[in-house]
């Protein structure tokens, strides 16, 4: 017996629209099964995961802290993926953006005025964009697979950050703990409402980025170019657009936004350059982009959902003693079900019993 995927002649518009919700529902059902198998009360566990983290205002601030970088990165990735450029290395670009932006407060600690923070953000964007330009260059010059190169560069970036934080950038007065000096307040992204919670302006930047990029995709010739080259490269060339330039545009934009998210995290949530600045935001953002239907506005909702899995994971570890790795399981399940639902919208499954080749041979 085997499964065959048969392309549907027409796709249901209704199911295309609700497929993310469907995927989330399936994820919850899978969650119930997993918790039951782990011997935990499933409904209580789900409550801890998905409801409890939303019950108080300071927790909503925590949600925004986690959702900010996810949305910012996913906005860029949604453009890259639309143009058929598969940047899997946002995690590395996030880290390089964090490093590049931190150069200012670490190397010139005396430079403290209203220009400090904007310059850091620009450096962060540039750092991520330049790091994203490497797989773009390799793809256009040597025809390498950008999925592999961008992914491998993540590990390079992680080790580079680790070396910096334990080595040259280590705070001399830090009692030998890894990590740079604490940034002065001029180099910190301020909190939105310090009285209520810890969320910083990075979240607002993400929303602004989402709206701007959405408008670009929706209304501008550039957005048309992205969609056209992603849908049909040959028609794109006929339109006079260059696939090679689009590779660079996609990687510079998605890398730059990942870098901006990186420096926002370092200067907002953390306040110093540490050996580890990301709990896998760059990878989780891939899920955010797909759950948001590769639509920049959609990534806002999707980013909040995925941020919840981080918070829920922490909560469940504390109150139920479940490993916080379960959060990763949930993230994986969401991606699996989103892609699965999309596949079933485009194809139907047919079971074929027996070996059809042998059967035809017998008939022939």
């Amino acid at each position: 017996m085997r499964l065959e995927l048969i392309k549907r002649p027409q796709q249901s518009a209704f199911f295309s629209a609700v497929s993310p919700l469907f995927a989330l529902l399936l994820t919850l059902i899978a969650g119930v099964i997993i918790f039951t198998l782990l011997g935990k009360p499933p409904l209580a566990a789900l409550y801890t995961y998905f409801i409890e983290p939303l019950s108080e205002v300071w927790q909503l601030h925590e949600l925004a802290i986690k959702a900010g970088p996810l949305i910012m990165i996913a906005v860029g990735l949604s453009v890259a993926y639309r143009s058929n450029n598969w940047n899997i290395g946002a995690e590395g670009q996030f880290i390089m953006g964090g490093i590049a932006g931190s150069l200012i407060p670490i190397l010139v600690p005396g430079f403290q005025n209203f220009m400090t923070l904007p310059l850091m953000l620009i450096f962060g964007f540039a750092g991520g964009a330049l790091y994203g330009a490497i797989p773009a260059l390799l793809k256009t010059r040597f025809n390498t697979n950008e999925i592999l190169t961008s992914l491998m560069l993540v590990y390079v970036a992680q080790l580079f950050l680790d070396w910096l934080a334990r080595g040259v950038f280590r705070d001399p007065n830090g009692n030998n703990f890894p990590g740079s000096i604490r940034f002065p307040s001029a180099a910190r992204l301020p909190e939105i409402d310090p009285a209520q919670g810890a969320a910083h302006w990075g979240f607002v930047l993400s929303i602004v980025a989402a709206v701007i990029v959405w408008a670009m995709m929706q209304y501008s010739l550039k957005g048309f170019e992205v969609k056209l080259l992603g849908e049909s490269p040959r028609a794109g060339r006929f339109a006079g657009f260059s696939s090679a330039r689009m590779v660079f545009f996609a990687f510079l934009l998605s890398g730059g936004l990942a870098g901006l998210a990186g420096i926002s995290e370092v200067s907002g949530a953390i306040g110093q350059l540490r050996e580890n600045i990301s709990p896998g935001y760059g990878f989780t953002a891939i899920i955010v982009a797909f759950l948001g239907r590769l639509n920049p506005i959609g990534t806002i909702a999707a980013g909040l959902v995925l941020a919840l899995t981080y918070l829920g994971g922490e909560g469940a570890q504390m109150s139920l003693g479940i490993s916080d790795k379960v959060a990763r399981v949930f993230q994986g399940l969401i991606l699996f079900f989103v892609l699965g639902c999309d596949t079933l919208i485009h194809y139907r499954i047919r079971l074929v019993f027996g070996d059809p080749a042998a059967k035809t041979a017998a008939e022939g």
């Binding site: 048969i6 056209l228 022939g364």
Partner: protein
Amino acid sequence: MGIADHNSVTASNTTPLLDVRGITKVFGSLVANDHVNLTIAPGEIHALLGENGAGKSTLVKMLFGVLDPSEGSIIWKGEEVRISSPSEARKLGIGMVFQHFSLFEALTAAENIAATTPISQIADTARRLSVDYGLPLDPDAMVGDLSVGERQRIEIIRCLLQKPDLIILDEPTSVLTPQEANKMFETLERLKAEGKSILYISHRLDEVKRLCDTATVLRHGKVVGHCNPQEETATTLANMMVGTDVQNASRELSQAVEPGEPLIEINSLDRPPATPFSIPLRGINLKVRAGEVVGIAGVAGNGQGEFFEAVSGEALQTQSDSVRLNKVDCGRLGISGRRLVGAAFVPEERLGHGAAPGLSLSDNMLLSRHTTDSKTMLGALGYVVTSAVTAARKRVVKEMDVRKSGEDPEAAALSGGNLQKYLIGRELDRKPKVLIVDQPTWGVDAGAAARIRQAIIELARSGSAVLVISQDLDELFEISDSIAVMHDGRISAPLPIAEATFEKIGLLMGGAEPGHMAYEDVKTAEETEV
């Protein structure tokens, strides 16, 4: 009801092989097939005629299990069947040869045939079938190296291996030379003599008259008549299809216009092959003057696609004067730059080259017009002025009589003929000084083709230079002022239409053709001339 049907039909010689009753297919608000009836007897060649968009493809897709009917029944050998997939259709004994080949270029002929059938002894079986049915074929040849006619033979043999009782052929001769088409007709006659039935879809009414025993004519999804093509003329058949009188494009005006200065000049254009499967261009020289239509004939795969890309600027030249358009050296300009000097292009592939299948007609308007019409269609920061794009779309739809379902559907939702009218209209709407068209009416119905040809001639008469690349000789003789032939990456000197004959052009087309058939044809042609 099912029982009654079953009892009333007894298995005898009079049982039709296929009986389609009241079949209906609805897409959204569009009724693509409206209670269509079709009966095919064993050993009959049955023509399915209709304009593009008349519902032929929809009907055939339902017969081959690609689409599910909304209503109606299919009765196969006296029993009602439900065909839910192509492999089920094959099991029943329905085979299909598609208009767009589904072959793998980098595999051999035998490997391609094996793709839908078991591997064992494919090459031998294929060789035997090819001899039996007069379809010469080398099973070990790489498909990328074969001519279009030879590729089609693979498709047909692949279909015959399934031992079908009914063979569906969708526009089989649209890419063949007259000689190749004749060979294929002989094969079909042989299949018919064996008692196999054939459903033959074509726009070429002469072929239908010559080959088919009965015909079903569709218009707007409805059957408008069943007839015997032998008793009809090409004109009466065309009138049934279109519903109005079809006129051949008129070239009367051509004598009145003196050709002006050259607007397309190709000077010793060379192009090395871009991929292992492409044809190098060698020393091409060509001039097209204002007011003139020059046709380029040739068997598919002789460098037409490569030539089009070089002229359009999708591939750049090393010498800037190799391509001069509208008196500007364009060799180093990309396609947008060439459009800006007043050139317009319509490629052979509608979906995926001239248009993006999944984008709306408006987006596809922007596709080729964003540089030339940037003043009206684009605002600050590259903002797309939707109203200007929509206005252009509406203008073209009206001007070219494009039929579609919905206001602004995806390009892929239009029938081939209607999309082609839209794509030609998109360029004509700019009133270009230079137009280069590859296969303007490939797979397009008679009504749309006449309209497209008329529009091409009118553009030339208004003082533009037009270059038409086509494999349809009738078309080139109808619209061209002179005809050149493309063969193996070279283009012959154009023959003025007054001196050109089918024989002369056919000889040039066959020329040094590496295909094995064509060589013999040239010899016979030479002998008859002598």
